[in-house]
């Protein structure tokens, strides 16, 4: 997978530098009046720049993916195996569905 970095709309960017101040890893700088992710390897995609950008020029979209069937985690389910004649329950086992 490619390193994820925020998308900067240079038309909307006013070069105010709020993203530079907020970025916890110093991955962004303002160059020629526009925000640029200059150290993409340092970007952790924390989305702080998107949250603080007053011009809404930075977007951090998430891809929403479902694992293919068969590779998904299975939730353990506890099932009781019925009652005995005296009213007590038989052993409860944990199964995976």
């Amino acid at each position: 997978m490619k390193t994820a970095i925020p998308e900067v709309d240079s038309e909307k960017c006013t070069g105010c530098g709020d993203c530079v101040e907020q970025c916890p890893t110093d991955a962004v700088e303002v160059i020629d009046g526009k925000a640029v992710i200059v150290r993409p390897g340092d970007c952790t995609y924390c989305t702080d720049c998107e949250a603080y950008c007053p011009a809404h020029a930075i977007r951090c979209p998430y891809e929403i993916v479902l694992l293919p069937a068969g590779t998904r985690k299975r939730t353990p389910v506890r099932r009781s195996h019925g009652k005995r004649a005296d009213g007590t329950h038989t052993k409860t086992r944990t199964f995976r569905r």
């Binding site: 989305t47 929403i64 993916v65 479902l66 293919p68 299975r74």
Partner: protein, 220 residues
């Protein structure tokens, strides 16, 4: 370019109409193009007509005075929007903006009100309105009875696709998710972190992977 007769015929509103009538409708239509994020219509403005999406996806939403948004639905190819003011003569009830580059046809209000005099088309219009009403009832139910994590879980389950499949992978920012579940970014961020802690989803870089859909269904 005007819409083709075949395209118009594929829409519920016009399915029962004759080719000659469809040809007349096509002549009154205007093709409009929008870039991603561009506003198509604004809530409260006078209605110009019915909009039909030819290509791309359009977000139909309401805005609060504080700038919060609630997405009512996403219109894709073949879907219509701004249907209500076409028939009640009022202002646009919601705003619309392009989620991605979009081509949209605008059918003038007068064309639609004239078509509504035909009983078969009127029935088709009622059907579209009934579907819309059902959808809005579900939104009202979700907003009234479900918590934000529950609404977010429902949204993730609805949108998620298996990688490599036919459907494109949806891409949404936290603000966009908030607008779709009637909440704010911070609450969506917290809910995503909680779900990660529960082992229901995994967030790596820009990817949210649903690792335990059964458990996510329990939350929704």
């Amino acid at each position: 370019m005007p819409p083709t007769i075949n395209f118009l015929k594929s829409l519920p509103y016009f399915a029962a109409l004759r080719p000659a009538t469809l040809d007349n409708i096509a002549r009154t239509a205007t093709e409009l193009s929008f870039a991603r994020g561009e506003v198509v219509i604004l809530e409260g403005e006078p209605c110009r007509g019915l909009y039909i999406v030819r290509m791309g996806r359009v977000r139909i939403f309401k805005s609060s005075a504080e700038g919060r948004e609630q997405v009512l639905y996403i219109a894709g190819p073949g879907d219509t929007f701004n249907d209500v003011p076409v028939f009640d003569d009022g202002a646009n009830p919601a705003s619309a903006s392009a989620l991605e580059p979009a081509t949209i046809y605008l059918i003038p209000r007068q064309t639609m009100t004239y078509l509504a005099t035909d009983s078969q088309t009127a029935q088709a219009i009622i059907k579209v309105f009934a579907t819309r009403l059902r959808h809005l009832t579900t939104i009202a139910e979700d907003l009234s009875f479900r918590s934000v994590p529950s609404r977010l879980a429902k949204l993730l389950l609805k949108l998620a696709v298996v990688e490599g499949g036919e459907a494109p992978i949806p891409q949404l920012t936290q603000d966009e998710m908030a607008a779709m579940v009637g909440s704010v970014r911070d609450v969506v961020g917290r809910s995503l972190r909680t779900m990660t802690g529960m082992g229901v989803i995994e967030i790596k870089g820009k990817r949210i992977t649903i690792t335990d859909p059964d458990k996510l269904k329990d939350i929704s």
